[in-house]
Amino acid sequence: MSKAGTGARALLFDGEFLGKLERLELLARKMFRGLVRGEHTTTRRGRGLEFSDFRRYRPGDDLRYIDWNIYARLDRLFLKLYASEEDVSLHLLLDTTASMGFGEPSKLDHARRLAAALGYIGLNNLDRVGVSTFTEVLGPSLPPLKARQHMVTLLEFLRELPCAGRTAFVHPLREFASRTHSPGLVIVISDLLGAEDAGLGLDALRHRGHDVMVLQILAEEEIEPPLDGALRLVDAEDGSTLEVTVDAALRRAYQARLGRRLDAFEQYCRKGGIEYLRSSTAVPFEDVVLKYLRHGRFLR
């Protein structure tokens, strides 16, 4: 176990869990220019070229990639195709609004652990991993790191994240999209509560060429609210209050409303090609990583 692994264990993970993570390999569902189709307009330099396939020659193709052996035997022009194993940029976007501080454990803690796990996997596979936070605006960020020795830096960044502010998606996500130079895999970790414009923000990422995945974290108290009787509900983000007497009927109405909102967002993601996963703080985050992400085809 490396030094970084020891620090991580001390913070968030145990050794068994880290061992499991090391055997996982982050897989970008989409190949970012990794599949080289000959020199087309520009040549991207990768660490190595690996033969992938043949295809017929089309006018304009780079003649250097013509397989002359096949031409000699078949008298036809075929191009040799090579897969480019470029680094995958993994961007972790964490919602650090005040609402993320809700729950026991808090949604933000849960998000931090998930981000740590995903970042660890990314670094372990020599991908570039960057972390950004957002509220109404883009918050503190960690520049893309590469190599496992930066794991401690990642964890300490995550540990120091504040939890305050109101939720907004459009402005911070558009700003993030404009700042990123190369598209990559963007994993947005948020509770998505109070975010009516979440779709627009995610669309901005998608249009920038990012492969977008949304991890929605809900507190168990939000799914099954343990509320009853005369209460004054205080909004954690804007401080507004609502006097209410909660009974079973009102709880059912709340849950129905929550269900409709979640379903609508899931539909939106499905139409936009955005991977969407929902989890609860009651679910151990390692289970989320090992089971949910595997089922979500991000790990192999």
Binding site: L193, R232, L233, V234, E237, T241, L242, L250
Partner: protein, 619 residues
């Protein structure tokens, strides 16, 4: 309205307290959530139910306030003052005598209808908790209800009351009414009458309130009607008819008498004002049947314009004649009035007892007779066993040498009687109840015996072998014998009673029931328990008929009362002094309401509980 515990009204302060408590909001616990938007949306979805919720909340408050108000006022013990008279027991006496049938004033109604309307008004005025008893005054007072507070029940009783043809006796009714109030300090008697009775009637005291429902009337009345035999004659009769004029002018009125619906007489009678005129009209014939007298005059009271009589309509004498043929006897019985004869040539001994109970008289004419059960017998030349008289041969041409002093032999002339042959009889010594009628030197020729339940007349010779049937003495002897055997048979009877007076129905002991048919045609069946029946429903004038087995009898019921036919008010209608029970200052009675208010409060609380259980959650 008054309050016995006015300080209890301080409990009304609970009303603002309830309102204040209801206005209090529950102390709410602060709960921080990641967002409240979902809860706001959920609440908005439930806006539809808030209307009902608010209504139930307001209803709940209203019910609580109502309960508190009712309890507070109930604790103050409110009482409503009401007239004691409304609560007192009242005896309403309706004069149901014949004069109450008189036309009242210019309307088409009768005095009784006015009295009934007055009684209905009294029932309407009956206070809560007060009771009333209805009774009628006729020849006898009749209680028509118990002391009753149910107005509907009293109205029903009142609607069934009818005036009668009876002469009134108001004093008896008022005495009874006062006795019903003997232990009631605040009771009163209301007498609804036309006051057409003697002015000197003692009305019984100050507790009686008289209400006159009549006015002056114009009336002409039959005050007496009867038929009677002329003295010393059996086929000559007299009709007695008296008509009285109660108007102030002379009246000439046609009067008619019918017997068995056949017109006997029709006369015009001139009656002076305030006077009377009596007709005595003789007639010859068989005076048996139902008679009716009437006058044709349009006056205010029609009930006394006719009268009824029943004459000789007693139960007919039923005779069983056991003979092989006896022209003289059969002819004689047929000629006798009110005698029914059944002739047979033989009779079974075992049926003789049944015949004896069914027939008034059994005649054995020369037929052998078995031992006699209780009954009445005429034995002609035959003697049954078991008697103190026995046959001991025959006697030829006996001469009548002596006659007894029995009533049977009164006026019977035996001078020319000759007998060819007669039975010789021997008589036990010292036979009680034996009367010698006439005899010869050799034997007794005729005897009468009264022994235990057997009464008999014995003729010791064959009638056909004597000239007795040809003598004037024969029908007389037979009639006297029948009179002795069945005394009532020859008596002229005129059965007539005043309306309202009961009559006794005496029927054979083996008769189980009796049917009485009233003048209106109603048939009333009474079961007899062996005792005579006192029939009391004679309030209607006319001919009553009762039937018990084979027995039929008629009874004439008449108004024929000079006082009752005087339909002008004569009695004083002013009570001596107001009843102390009716004095205004003492007639106030407080009716408590606390129980009703407590019930109202409980009802409101019950409803509030239901509302609380059914209402949805509060926002």
């Amino acid at each position: 309205m008054q309050l016995d515990q006015p300080l209890a009204l301080l409990a009304l302060l609970s009303l603002p307290a309830i309102v204040a408590l209801f206005s209090l909001r529950p102390r709410r616990r602060d709960v921080v959530l990641s967002t409240t938007s979902l809860w706001r949306e959920a609440l908005r979805e439930r806006q539809r139910g808030l209307g009902l919720q608010r209504l139930l909340r307001n209803l709940s408050l209203a019910l609580l306030l109502l309960a508190a108000l009712a309890l507070s006022v109930g604790l103050a013990d409110p009482r409503r003052l009401t007239r004691a008279g409304a609560q007192a027991d009242t005896v309403v006496v309706l004069d149901a005598s014949a004069s109450m049938q008189a036309r009242a004033g210019g309307g088409g109604g009768t005095r009784f209808a006015l009295a009934r309307q007055e009684a209905a008004d009294l029932i309407d005025e009956l206070g809560s908790g007060a009771r009333m008893l209805l009774m009628t005054s006729g020849r006898y007072p009749v209680l028509r209800s118990a002391f009753e507070s149910d107005r509907a029940a009293l109205r029903k009783v009142l609607s069934e009351l009818r005036p009668t043809d009876e002469a009134g006796r108001p004093r008896a009714a008022l005495t009874l009414a006062l006795s019903l109030l003997r232990d009631r300090d605040n009771g009163r008697v209301v007498f609804l009458t036309d006051a057409a009775f003697d002015a000197d009637v003692n009305l019984g005291g100050a507790r009686i309130e008289l209400r006159n429902v009549g006015g002056p009337g114009r009336n002409l009345a039959i005050t007496r009607f009867d038929l009677r035999p002329e003295v010393g004659s059996e086929d000559r009769f007299q009709v007695l008819l008296t008509v009285r004029n109660y108007t102030g002018e002379p009246v000439e009125v046609p009067a008619a008498v019918e017997l068995n619906r056949n017109r006997l007489f029709e006369r015009r009678m001139r009656v002076p004002p305030g006077g009377r005129r009596t007709l005595v009209l003789p007639f010859r014939g068989k005076a048996a049947g139902r008679a009716r007298a009437s006058i044709d005059f349009d006056d205010d009271l029609a009930a006394d314009n006719e009268a009824f009589a029943v004459m000789g309509m007693d139960e007919p004498l039923r005779v069983l004649l056991l003979t092989e043929g006896n022209f003289y006897l059969e002819s004689l019985f047929k000629a006798m009035p009110n005698v029914e004869v059944v002739t047979r040539s033989e009779v079974r001994p075992e049926r003789l007892r049944r015949h004896a109970s069914r027939y008034d008289l059994i005649v054995f004419d020369r037929l052998p007779a078995p031992a006699l059960p209780p009954g009445r017998y005429l034995l002609i030349d035959t003697l049954p066993p078991g008697l103190p008289i026995t046959q001991a041969g025959r006697v030829t041409r006996p001469l009548i040498v002596g006659r007894g002093t029995s009533a049977i032999m009164r006026d019977v002339d035996l001078a020319g009687v000759k007998i060819d042959e007669a039975s010789r009889v021997s008589i036990e010594r010292e036979t009680p109840g034996l009367q010698r009628l006439f005899w010869s030197a050799e034997t007794e020729l005729a005897l009468a015996l009264l022994q235990d339940d057997v009464r008999l007349v014995y003729l010791g010779f064959d009638l056909s072998r004597s000239n007795l049937p040809l003598q004037a003495a024969f029908p007389l002897l037979v009639r006297r014998s029948l009179s002795w055997l069945r005394p009532r048979e020859t008596r002229f009877t005129s059965t007539q009673i005043p309306a309202g007076e009961p009559f006794s129905i005496d029927v054979p002991a083996n008769q189980a029931d009796v049917i009485v048919r009233t003048p209106a045609g109603d048939g009333l069946i009474f079961e007899l328990g062996g005792a005579p029946l006192e029939f009391e429903a004679t309030s209607e004038a006319g001919i009553y008929r009762y039937t018990a087995g084979a027995v039929h009898r008629y009874i004439a019921v008449n108004l024929t009362d000079e006082d009752e036919s005087n339909i002008n008010a004569r009695a004083s209608l002013v009570s001596a002094e107001p009843s102390p029970a009716l004095a205004p200052e003492e007639s106030q009675v407080a009716l408590a309401f606390w129980s009703y208010l407590a019930g109202l409060a409980l009802l409101a609380l019950g409803l509030e509980w239901v509302v609380w259980c059914t209402r949805p959650s509060r926002a």
